[in-house]
Structures are given as C-alpha cells and as structure tokens.
Symmetry: C2
Subunit: 220 residues, 2 copies
C-alpha cells in the first residue's frame, strides 16, 4: 500500500490544492477517486466530521481540509517549501488564504450558485470588492514571489474555476479590465508547467457546473 | 513605543486568545483599547479589510485574525511552544481550531443571537452535535496534554463565554450532564492561573450580552 493516499475528485479546486502541494514536494501518492453521490467507507471513516474531500492519508493517519493538508505536507516533508519561511510572511499567507475561502469564494458561490437573484447580485458586489483587496496586494509575479507558494495554490480557484463559473452564469466578475494584475497572474499560474499538467480539463467542468445550475432552477 | 501592541476590547474571546498567547510566551505588550462604536484610525489603518479586533502590531507590522495571530506569536517568539511541534499533531490542532470557529461558534451564535426562533432551535441542535465531536476528541487534561496549547486557547470561548451566552438565553447547551469531559476540562481551564488572571469579569459580560439580545428584539 502506498504511504500517501489522497481521497478526492479530480474536478475539485480544493483537491487540486493538495495534488499541487504533493507535486511541488515531489511526493509519490495514490489517488483514490471518490463518488460524492455514494461516499466510500474510507471517506466516512477518515473524515467522519465533514465527510468531504480532500482527505490525505499518510501512514494510515488522516488529515482533512485543504489548507490544513497543504500546511501538513509542507511540515511533514522537507525540501521545496510551500509556505514562506519568515514568520511575518507566513502570517500574511495564512491571512490571505483564509480571505480567499471565507470572503472571495463564499461571495462567488453566492453570485453563481444561489437561486435568488437579489442574493446573486449581492454576491457579485461582494466578490468584486473582495477581489480588489487581493489585486491591491499582488506585488510580484506570483504571490509566493518568483515561485509558486501557498497563496498561489489557494488562489488557483480564482485563476481557473472562477472564469468557468462566470461563463456558466454569463457574469463578468473576474476580468482583465477590472483586475489587470490578478488577470496576468492567473495566466502565468495556469500556464506554469506543474499547474498545467494537473488541472482538470475545462470542458467537462463547464458541462458539470452548467448541469448543476440547471438543477438549481429545476428544483425551484 | 512598545515593540508589541495589541488593539482589542477586553471582553472579546478572540482578543483574549491573543492576550493568552502573549502571556504564555512572556511577551511584554501595550494594550490599546478600541471603541468598536467609533473605531480608531489605527484600527482602520492596520486592518482595512475586516476592520476588526484583535490586531497585533509587532515592530509596526500588523497581523489580523486571532488564530493567525496566535500562530504568528508562536513562530516569531521562541520558547514555550503553543502549537504542538510534531507535524501531525499540528495539523490536528489546526483542524480543531477551525472546527471551533466554523462549526461550534457559528452554531452557538445562531442559537443565541438570532431573532428567528426556528433558526435559534436549529443553532442549538447544530451546537450539540458539534460539541459532541469535541467531547469525543478530548483524551487528556487539556487538549494540549498536561499543558495548555493552541486548541485550549481557541476553545476557551466554550469554557467561559458559552455558559454566559446560554444563561442570557436560558438555554442548556453546554452542561456537565451532556458533556462531562468537556465540562471538567472547562473548569480546569478557567481555573488555570494564567487564564484566570486574564479573563474579563463575568458580570459586565453578562449585562453586555443581555443588552445585546434585548436590542435584537427591540429592532424586530
């Protein structure tokens, strides 16, 4: 049995964060594909609280939650640091990764996957405001500097998934006109060899999220 | 000027987390009391995104969000580690501290500070379910083992604030009958000398949250 296993689904931005951390560290692992409509015994055993992917299993010990897993990988395996090494820079990276999940992603989810139109509009406004903070913070090629780091991995959801989400809804939230620095960063990021190799293909994702939104309206 | 400053209010469980981390590390600091009804220029300058306390300012550099600040303090100042040192234990501590803020505290807030009664009942149920997971996880005197650690600091909100919240609402969520291990832990924790010295007095807190709930109903 492999020492490192990853329970996940290929299309999830949260799972891809862990895949990238493993690849950046050069760690061999076994990918166990989950069917979220019929969760495996293994998933329920290893993440009984949230019952969600990703779950990393290292020597039979499970770790859940993508950002917790990425920090774990960075601390448990030496070489190629993912987080900055300086304490203040580490704190900033943690602050911004939380900001992405708590503010940007939750606003985007509201803007895209809510049935109520007023709520969706509120989501768009919140997303624009939150993205502006991130745009203002970007000073280097990647958030990690010249190399991809913790915040880039966390923010990949903006670079790759958000354009798909907004296409599905016909929204213009994350655009090169509104966020030129972030947009350039997003192009650098998704064309980085390690990222490019590990992104799920775009068309099936688009079809998946289209179906999900149609399902939303159908169950109105 | 002091090298370390803390912007906060004395009654906030999130601010007290930072106070405790500083005390456990033996770090001298200056406490700058905020008036949240009229936020200082300093707060708006140092935390322009969330405009919330606590903010730690170390050598003029600000860090926001209580858990990010506690990790920063642990990494920037040597001695008396607050987080475990072993990577897997660190990951578990981070998982559970997130669980406290995302699941337990948000359920408690819903159970106590929501106007809608159905929502409040849902909050009570969610809080009971979430607390049970934490009860099951407690195997030692403190979550940190024999000594107070990261998770104890984060969970102090359950030991000290939740009993106040439920008294205000006449609820029975966190009781010695329902959660005997957590209840014993809570008594050990609030009687630990460093914690005891730094807790805000109970009566004013009780009065403050009573007024807050009366304000809720008044603005119905």
């Amino acid at each position: 049995m492999a020492e490192v296993k990853l329970l996940g689904v290929r299309g999830s931005p949260f799972v891809v964060r862990v895949v990238l951390a493993l690849k950046l560290k050069g760690i061999e692992y076994e990918f166990l594909e989950e069917n979220l409509g019929n969760k495996s015994e293994l998933l329920l055993k290893y993440n009984p609280i949230h019952k969600k992917v990703p779950v990393l299993v290292h020597n039979e010990k499970p770790v859940s939650e993508s950002l917790v897993i990425v920090e774990y990988i960075d601390e448990a395996f030496k070489g190629n640091p993912i987080l900055p090494t300086e304490p203040y820079q580490r704190a900033l990276a943690r602050f911004w990764t939380n900001f992405i999940d708590d503010k940007i992603f939750s606003a985007i989810r509201k803007a895209v996957f809510t049935l109520d139109e007023v709520e969706r509009e509120k989501g768009v406004e919140e997303a624009l405001e939150a993205l502006q903070f991130l745009e203002n913070d970007l000073k280097t090629k990647f958030f990690g500097g010249d190399e991809i780091g913790f915040l880039d991995i966390a923010a990949l959801i903006i670079a790759y998934w958000v354009p798909i989400f907004q296409e599905v809804r016909g929204l213009q939230i994350f655009t090169s006109e509104k966020f030129p620095k972030l947009y350039n960063w997003s192009q650098e990021l998704i064309n980085h060899p390690i990222i490019k190799e590990n992104l799920p293909p775009r068309e099936p994702l688009l079809a998946f999220f289209k179906a999900r939104i149609e399902g939303l309206s159908a169950s109105k």
